[in-house]
Amino acid sequence: MTATSSRHQLRTRVFLFSVFSTLVLGLASLYNQLNSKIYLRGMTRILGRSRPYLELQDQTVTLGSLLETYLSTKNYSTLKEYWTRSQILYNTVWDLDRTLTWDRSSLLREDLVELIQSYLRATQDAINAKRGRDVPGYTEAFARSERILGFIKQTTADLVQADYLEGSRQGQRFADQLATLQLFNILMLLSLMTLGVILGFWFSGRLTGPLSRLAESARQIAEGNYGISVAPYRRQDEIGLLTVTFETMRTNIIRNIDELTERAEIENRLMSERLDNLRIKNLLKIAELHALQAQVNPHFLFNTLNTGVQLAILEDADHTRLYIEHLADVFRNNIRTLDRLIPLSDELHSIESYIYIMRIRFADRFAFRIQLPSPCPDPLMPAMILQPLVENAITHGLRDREADGWVEITVSLEDGWLHLAVTDNGAGIAPERLGRILAVTEDAGNEAAALEAVTSDDISRKSNGIGLANVISRMRLHFGDPDIVSIASQPGSGTRIAFRLPLPREVDLVQSPDC
């Protein structure tokens, strides 16, 4: 109940203001009515004060006429009428307010009463004399009554005149007082009207001010400015409820927007991750495709090489057997699924087989070195990383070098990172080509096309098909580190391609048996 009533405070205020205004107007009107009533009463009293005396005079004159008629006709009905009229006149005189005052009207009224009483006695004397057949008596009494009637008329005239003069004086005084009263009434009404206007202006301002501020806040929010602060409103009324509800709505909107933003970010991240996975898969597919294209029935070759191993054993040709075994290892590594992670030791083992073959193939033309830390960690990493790099070093870097060429594979630990580097002292990479490789690998959107171009180029250059760009892209996508690779190349001096791999804690400093 209290909450309901407090919620209706605004309505109550508007209602009370209306009631107050109506009451004030009503009171002003009633006051005006009271003024008019007093004015009318005063004027009626002033103007009507002589009326009773004029009526008395009329009654007296009527009585005189009846007396005269009776005296001349001696008619009983006239006498009866006379008695009735005289009784009425007597009662009227009796009922008059005979309070004696100092003013002339009061004294004249007393005269009039006395004169009428004398007149009634005179007329009664005349009637008695008439009924007693006393002719001189009724003649004298009638004459006396006529003289008194004259006095009554004169006194009535004096009384009317006195009342008129007194009434005029009172009327003038009354009019003067009313003029002053009217002046104050006009002042009162003017000030009341001005106060009403001021009060209405103030009240409407108080009423619409918070609403205007609320509307401005709503407009700001509609324009997307959710950070505004809603003007405080302390009253517990409808506007207060509206303000609180509005503030709650604003807070909810902000929270919902935050939630939506957060959800969208999560979804974006998920989408990005999915996209990355798709890209990795796509690259792998492309790499595998190119690898397959580059392979000539590797299983057949592998089986054939095994047969060759058997044959070498039978012929006791150990070098041949060892050569064929390493060649078989290289083929086995090449046909291995590329999306599988392998330990670093496996990758090193594969590259050792490859190097063995390259040593046999190029005799003392190139030197190969592998430097490992001790102990050597053995983290998981994408397969077929080192071989393409060594292959590139031989194929592109040392291709035109007849002697003293070398390729060095270095594994080191530094600042919690595992650094894997392939260095040669070959021809180096031209800066524009190096820039193109790096740009292509950094452009995720065109990665596939770039890779296609690079690998095509590699193929055209008698590469095994898995080029530098492919290696870099796979490493970047797998580790999510755009700075994972660094290439230092000086044309004519050699090239150093290094990878910086995060070192998982569990494999820190684990000595691999192959290292």
């Binding site: 009463r41 004696l100 100092w102 004169l115 004398s118 009263l181 002042l187 001021i198």
Partner: protein, 361 residues
Amino acid sequence: MKIISIALTGCIVVLFLLASGMSVRYLMDIAASESRLPMATTHPDWRAIVLLPETHDPFYLQVADALEKNAREHGLALEFRPLPMAQDREMALRTLELAITAHPGGLIIPGSANPDYVNLIDKAVASKIPVITVATDSPASKRQTFVGTNGFSLGLKAGEFIEQNSAENARIGVILSQPDPVASDINNQSIIAGLAQALKHGGQRRITETRSDLPEALSSEEITADLIDNHHEVTVLFYTSSKDAIAAAQHIVDRNRVGQVMIIGVDDPPELVDYLRKGIIAATILRNPDNIGRLSIESLVELKTSNNSSSFRDPGIRLVTRNTLADAAGGLRTAATWGFKGEPRERAEQAVAAATAEPPR
């Protein structure tokens, strides 16, 4: 801005409160005064009717004023009616009869020797209405009391002044006022007798002209003009009406005869006092209307309460000259109450101020 608005609103509120307060107050005053009309705070105990000559003589106005003032002190309401004795005798008699028929608690009237007038007085007394005659008397009637100046004393006082201040062979003119010719005859005879008594041992001084003014307007001025213009031997003029004395003074000024004619008047209306102060009128005899009013009311109250009062009460007279004007200021102050029946009170107050001012050297 806010402070100005609040101040402005406060001013309007104050204006509203003041206006409404004054309006309510005025309305209450009007309502109260309007409802108070029939109710006086004090009421008279009884009433009497006063009939005074219908004249412009300030003396009677002062008498009326004194009567009313004293009557109020005794709870007596007075109803004044004019009595046109000189103008319309029938009307005067009829007025008296009306007053008697109205049966007041008392009658205060001027006296008259007219038999009908006397009869009416007797009728009033027979109706147990006490009758007081003022200024002039009806000695033949059954009136209970006469309050007024004795004509003989008035004449004697004037004669004594003339004897002391006029030439040995001065010729004296007497102009008698006649508010009621019948009543005045008796009174005038007494005045002449008193004057003659004073001049009995006054050497060669003689009353050579005795005139009575007529009720019509300007008659006294005509008499004065005739005496001054055509009777150069008359050097002393005695008036029994202040109005006539003032007219004579004005005429002397107009004729440039100031200092050649001695004027003696009665009573103390402002104009007369002014002429007295300027030396144009030599002396005036105060008939003391205040005392007349007071003694009349006292007599009426005595008759009302004990049915007994003196048959004659003398209010006394006093002669005032230019030199004794300051001493007579107390007596002259009666003029200050001379605002009866519309006469401007300011004039009376001016007269008192003039009378008490230092005379010019």
